[in-house]
């Protein structure tokens, strides 16, 4: 056994230097030099202010903006740090709801949200992403159907023609990669930024 100690410790140290320091630093160097936008988190600037990352969703509550999906992320309770409070789109602590399919909390939540949204949809069937929490709690996208459901509300709140808002949604609908991979989706932050540009 003792004959193995030298190779074990020496190779462990050498491999730590190679794969734990050289490898990530080399990748960081190349990434920062060649692809700085992606390497730094695909941040979006408005003027000189960072308003978000195009990959990370934000919480929207105002009628003037398209709403994103439900987010189950939490943050430490400022009053008692052994507890947590709801903090949707907390990008420092990703989390899903982890409700099982028979969870009473899940079913009650979906029922309440569906009743609320039914008023907006005018009796049409609701898209599933409108009432379900995303896996990460940071999903930047909604389905085109959920965006369509919100067009009239946003247009009304902003005093914009419905056709103009619908056109913005169409422009921001992203297709499948090579026409095959992934799902149709709308990036909520980018769409809302375009709305702000179109009529602040």
């Amino acid at each position: 056994m003792f004959v193995h100690l030298r190779p074990a410790f020496v190779l462990l140290i050498l491999m730590t230097v190679l794969t734990g320091i050289c490898y990530p630093l080399a990748v960081t160097g190349v990434a920062q030099a060649v692809m700085p936008a992606q390497a730094n988190g695909s941040l979006i600037l408005r003027g000189d202010q960072i308003v978000g990352s195009e990959l990370i969703g934000q919480n929207f509550t105002s009628d003037r903006y398209f709403r994103a999906r439900l987010s189950a992320t939490v943050a430490p309770d400022p009053k008692d740090d052994t507890k947590t409070i709801d903090a949707p789109y907390n990008a420092a602590n990703s989390s899903g709801s982890n409700f099982g399919p028979l969870s009473k909390k899940l079913i009650d939540r979906i029922k309440a949200d569906a009743e609320q949204l039914a008023k907006e949809s005018g009796g049409k069937r609701l898209p599933a992403d409108a009432v379900t929490a995303s896996a990460s709690g940071l999903d930047p996208h909604i389905s085109p159907a959920y965006a369509a459901l919100q067009v009239a509300r946003v247009a009304g709140a902003r005093g914009l023609p419905i056709e103009r808002v619908a056109q913005l949604v169409a422009e921001h609908t992203e297709g499948r990669f090579l026409g095959v991979f992934g799902e149709l989706r709308v990036n909520v932050l980018k769409l809302n930024l375009a709305l702000d540009r179109s009529k602040p």
């Binding site: 056994m1 730590t16 028979l102 969870s103 992403d129 929490a133 996208h141």
Partner: protein, 569 residues
């Protein structure tokens, strides 16, 4: 289910299959010590490593010395990782100022990464410094994967050689697996990941003011470099809490495609390496075919169940056409989520791009079954191949019993000693999973960790011990596993699942290597035919599956029936 959904699944598997021959052949050359295109760059590094470590690469080891070297190396790795986690407050690259990881969590995490499990009882962005992620976790992502590949190659040599006392040199196999296989592919995949949108920076977080004026702190870091080896090494330990569901780990369909390809590529190619080294590539293809048949069936069932969705939702006026989206990301939808879930558990990867806890009952049962079948579909890098070879030995033994002949696999007689050792290895899985689950289900403080009541709670416990013992690392993540009970018992499960399997496996390797390889005769049962593939699939399903059926009946199966009856908990 849609045609475009199946097209995505089909193209993905095609992309993996076209790599099997070149990658498998390349690995055969690497482990037979032949020159490769990378030798000119990596050869000097490799020789320098041996010189500093005092390793003579020409000197081979018997199965026992090989196994002891592997255990000493992994014990040293555990020790170093445990110290890094406990002392991370004193090291640089800790921009958020995280303090020491608690002892039970550091114990659990160190075992988890050394055993290639990558069970994570913590949230990465709220616990680990960049230093710990890079020099601790990323390093073990490489070394645990390299250990698995080395062990598989030693097992392969046992079949390839005749009357041999030696199975290889652990230090050489481990070093070559890291330098020639894992590292170059990781660099390529990491850069492809950055191009597709993954961050790679030493900053810790970005503070932004959202459109509505709220403050948002976005955790960030050297994500791409860790993700690349996490997928290629079938480790699965993510940078962020929600793993590959996080938009920074997996921002779009392209990164998702690379992720799934990367986790499958090496494990799917190793059977070909086996065939090449043993002198008959048809043997490798037969093993791969058996792996893929069960895997594709699992993908199909999970996709079907998730596309069907939860009948309770439809009652509230929700359009069922996009399936069950609770715990899923819009960019992946049900098809990419179901595919990812089945592949990550058929492999012992454990990365997730959707929350398995929120899957419909039968879709959630698929990852559970894939793990319980022994992580051989096609399994973790290396561990999948040696696990499959154990099943192949069992299959020829059962076939031998049926016709009353001494069973042979690749000309090696399978006798009582090998069978006893194989059974010992195979029984570790049910022992840990059912034993610990039964204990946890009866302990009030263990039940406090459950996030869901009713049969789903039992599924959460079963999943945790299956994932740990199978060295998978995915979770029904509602379970609050960061407690002393779960950190300790899951840590023990991971250790037994890895090493209590490896030791008998290597003992079989030693005993088979010493046997003469007898030439095939008219009475030899051929092991490259569809008949053998069918037999092998049957053995995997019976041995791996039947012992868990009662537990599954009490968890996901009864849950499915209750869902149809409209019951909630």
């Amino acid at each position: 289910m849609t045609a475009i959904g199946w097209l995505q699944i089909g193209i993905l598997f095609a992309l993996v299959l076209v790599c099997v021959k070149p990658l498998g052949g390349y690995m055969a050359r690497v482990f037979q010590g032949e020159r490769t295109p990378l030798t000119i760059v990596l050869g000097p590094i490799e020789r320098g490593f041996y010189r500093l470590a005092g390793v003579d690469p020409a000197k081979e080891q018997g199965w026992f010395a090989y196994t002891v070297a592997m255990i000493v190396f992994n014990a040293a790795g555990f020790l170093l990782l445990y110290l890094i986690l406990r002392l991370q407050g004193f090291f640089p690259l800790n921009p958020q100022g995280f303090s020491a990881v608690a002892p039970d969590l550091a114990f659990n995490t160190a075992i988890s990464f050394v055993t290639n499990t990558n069970w994570q009882a913590y949230g990465g962005e709220t616990t680990m410094s960049h230093f710990a992620q890079m020099t601790g976790l990323t390093v073990q992502n490489f070394l645990s994967a390299a250990t698995g590949i080395a062990l598989a190659i030693a097992f392969v040599r046992a079949f390839a050689r005749s009357g041999a006392a030696y199975v290889g040199n652990f230090w050489v196999d481990m070093t070559r697996a890291t330098l020639y296989v894992l590292l170059p592919f990781s660099v390529i995949v990491a850069l492809a990941f950055v191009a597709s949108g993954l961050p790679q920076t030493l900053l810790a977080s970005v503070d932004v003011k959202t459109l509505e004026g709220a403050a948002q702190t976005i955790a960030i870091g050297p994500v791409a470099s860790q993700e690349a080896i996490k997928q290629l090494g079938t480790n699965g330990g993510g940078f962020f809490n929600v793993n590959s569901a996080h938009p920074f780990e997996n921002p779009n369909a392209i990164s998702n495609l690379i992720s799934i390809w990367a986790m499958l590529a090496i494990s799917a190619s190793l059977p070909y390496t086996f065939g090449k080294m043993a002198g008959d590539t048809r043997q490798g293809w037969a093993l791969l075919l058996a792996m893929l048949v069960i895997l594709v069936a699992g993908v199909g069932i999970a996709y079907w169940a998730e596309a069907g969705g939860n009948p309770a939702f439809a009652a509230f006026g929700i359009d069922p056409s996009s399936g069950n989206l609770e715990g899923k990301e819009v960019r992946f939808g049900v098809v990419m989520s179901a595919l990812y879930a089945a592949v990550t558990t058929g492999l012992s990867c454990g990365a997730v791009n959707a929350m398995h806890d929120s899957f419909t009952p039968l879709a959630g049962m698929i990852p559970l079954i894939m793990i319980k079948l022994g992580e051989v579909l096609p399994g973790g890098v290396g561990s999948g191949l040696y696990g499959m070879l154990i099943f192949a030995i069992l299959a020829v033994f059962i076939a031998g019993l049926m016709v009353g002949r001494t069973p042979e696999y690749l000309g090696k007689k399978i006798e009582a000693r090998e069978m006893k050792l194989a059974m010992f290895a195979v029984l570790i899985l049910p022992l840990c999973i059912l034993g610990f689950s039964a204990a946890a289900a009866n302990l009030p403080f263990a039940l406090e960790s459950l996030a869901n009541n009713g049969p789903h709670g039992l599924s959460e416990i079963l999943y945790a011990y299956s994932s740990a013992t199978g060295n998978n690392g995915s979770a029904f993540a509602g379970l609050s596993a960061n407690t002393k009970w779960y950190n300790t018992t899951l840590g023990i499960s991971m250790l037994l699942g890895r090493f209590a399997y490896i030791v008998p496996m290597m003992a079989i390797a030693g005993s088979l290597a010493a046997k003469k390889r007898s030439p095939a005769s008219a009475g030899t049962f051929p092991t490259h035919t569809p008949l053998f593939v069918g037999l092998l699939i049957g053995v995997i399903l019976i041995v791996g599956g039947l012992q868990f059926f009662p537990a599954l009946a009490l968890g996901p199966i009864v849950e499915h029936l209750l869902m149809l009856a409209g019951k909630t908990f």
